[in-house]
Symmetry: C2
Subunit: 386 residues, 2 copies
């Protein structure tokens, strides 16, 4: 079997394991940097490897529109195209169709029906249609190790819409995706939806597990609901997923989301946060973020984080990083992306080690204690993922 998931240790709901892919093992829990357009912004694959990335996510919607999935297939697939030799994951494009092409006054740009979704490109307004079968064709062309089924990511707090429209479509599409998906070297994960409603999440989890997938994602979170609603939803949903399959919390999260997600049994995370805030001049630390524009850093010879082992912290002062940010130099995005990804990736590695050594409970307590301490430091600000 090409894909296997082995659990090495558990502590409460938290687990440490290994998910095997054709491009190598994924040591879970794991955090995936996002390479939307077949590049993790501002980083070479070499730098990405150096910060400790193992799994990289790319966005089907963006790559389908530009440069096109057929072109990428012709170039040997996503791994060869972007020169990333490790495991990759593609989303279904659904989330982008519903967000980029479906928000506010762009709502008319997107029409959803039982068979699929018609939308206009955010690039040039051209018309496109995603069906489960079309999305499987695209994701198989891209050739990531993990592909996601097409789902409907609806607003999380509209019960009637979720129950009568979004969920039935999500479930029917998951079945059609499984039928249409044929690549043996690619694992197709199902996605549980249901907003913030426990009964819908439960129905969705049971339905997806009935269809049967080598891994399960929890979708539709971190899209506007509160942090406690997100965690409550995990509390309800995760226990209904099979122990022996990896669980992926899509589009999440922050340092605290990693700690609390793992504590509830999540194995895989991804988020644009580390690289997005880097381009905005912000540095992540485990307790929050630093705005490198802040004048207090102008003459600060210390690294961003004296405890950090990344190239940026080993090489440059806060004063230099601030100068680059103020001068709008591209290198600021590169150096802050390196630091921010290293911060997230070393955090998830430390979480994994703590589980393997049965001291995750202590790790979690110490993590929150440090945040409380940091709360008294003016420089450190809170952050949210989206």
């Amino acid at each position: 079997m090409l894909f296997s998931f082995e659990l090495l240790a558990r502590e409460g709901a938290a687990r440490a394991g290994v998910f095997q892919t054709v491009h190598g093992p994924l040591e879970t829990p794991i955090y995936a940097p996002v390479g939307t357009q077949a590049t993790v912004k501002a980083l070479t694959p070499q730098q990405l490897q150096e910060v400790g990335a193992a799994l990289v996510l790319a966005n089907t919607y963006h790559l389908y529109l530009r440069p096109g999935d057929a072109l990428i297939a012709e170039m040997g697939g996503l791994h060869a195209f972007m020169a990333w030799q490790g495991p990759m994951l593609t989303d279904s494009g659904g989330f982008q169709v519903f967000s980029l092409a479906g928000q506010g006054d762009k709502l008319s740009l997107r029409q959803i029906d039982a068979d699929g979704v018609t939308f206009r490109s955010h690039l040039n307004g051209s018309r496109h249609r995603f069906t489960p079968e079309k999305v499987m064709e695209i994701e198989q062309n891209l050739g990531a190790d993990i592909a996601m089924v097409l789902d409907e990511c609806a607003v999380p707090d509209d019960y009637t819409y979720q129950r009568d429209f979004a969920l039935p479509r999500t479930h029917a599409w998951a079945e059609r995706c499984k039928v249409a998906h044929t690549r043996q070297d690619q694992a197709l994960f199902g996605i549980v939806q249901g907003g913030i409603f426990p009964d819908l999440r439960e129905a969705s989890a049971r339905h997806l597990v009935d269809i049967g997938f080598p891994g399960y994602a929890i979708g539709g979170l971190s899209v506007g609901e509160s942090k406690s609603e997100m965690l409550d939803t995990l509390d309800v949903t995760v226990p209904l997923l099979p122990e022996d399959k990896p669980r992926y919390l899509m589009g999440v999260g922050t340092p605290e989301d990693l700690v609390e997600g793992v504590a509830r049994g999540i194995d895989i995370f991804d988020c644009v946060l580390p690289t997005r805030v880097a381009r905005n001049g912000q540095a992540l630390v485990r307790t929050g973020k630093l705005n490198m524009r802040n004048a207090q850093f102008a003459e600060d010879p210390a690294p961003i984080d004296a405890t950090c082992g990344c190239y940026t912290c080993a090489t440059f002062s806060r004063a230099y990083i601030r100068h680059l940010v103020m001068a709008k130099e591209m290198l600021s995005a590169t150096l802050l992306s390196i630091h921010n990804l290293y911060t997230m990736l070393s955090l998830i590695r430390d979480i994994r080690t703590a589980i393997l050594e049965t001291r995750f409970a202590d790790f979690r307590a110490a993590f929150w204690e440090a945040r409380v301490d940091a709360g008294s430091t003016r420089a450190v600000q809170d952050l949210s993922c989206r």
Copy 2:
């Protein structure tokens, strides 16, 4: 003596040598990438080292305005601030004062007199004054291995202005810079001016040599004059400079400028061209440049240059580079800067080796032959430095 220049080989006017600095030897002829704001745009110092850079230039005007030379001195100087361990060179800021703050309708922003120049910042309009003594203070704060005297870079074809104003000022300022300059670990180079006029260039060269510097620059070229005017000026000027001192052709050039400059006895070059055109989606090859936006590259699996040894060409296809350029991804600037600098730096290394092996004449002939051949290839376009 901290600075020594040893000539290892000559072929005609071309020379290969070694200029010793406190941060290591410079093997001449050499090409310096430009790190205007204490960063070669889009590259880490690690990447800069990997492409083969030895000498890096930074701009005094920019760093004086932001973050300030006093701050950089406090942070241990330019090398420590930007984490570049190799030799560095700073210009005097004069060129930027005369170009950024002194062109067209901004002419009123700049007032020059016998003692110095008053100008307004292009960043915020604040008033500043550069005198020879002030510039020496700034460059000594920055602490590059090679510093340049303050000169007046005037329009190259106004004989009366050059003779009656620009040259007398340039010469008087060179003397004052030499007096004001005290750092023993920094070599101060003089600058020969005189536009495109042989008698003025001759007078300027003799004057500067009389003052006496450890190296001489030829300034005021590649600023609007024709290519043949530039080369004619080198033919007149270089023979008047001492054999045993390095000669630096400021702000030049293109691949052909390197070949023809070396043929006329130039040892040091710098130019923003490789990194500037990279950010514009253009790839340098020895015979010209490729516009990576060109649709002909959309499905091209070949590297930019199959003969190139850089990371970009070893790793990525033209199709991928084109995708990054079209998608406006920062990585395109990084990968093209790596390639373009490697192209220039490997060219100058090959030139040096040819001189050491007494086959530079053949190398030069083959270089021009390849350009003629490439002229028949639609994809390759000509380029100019500024």
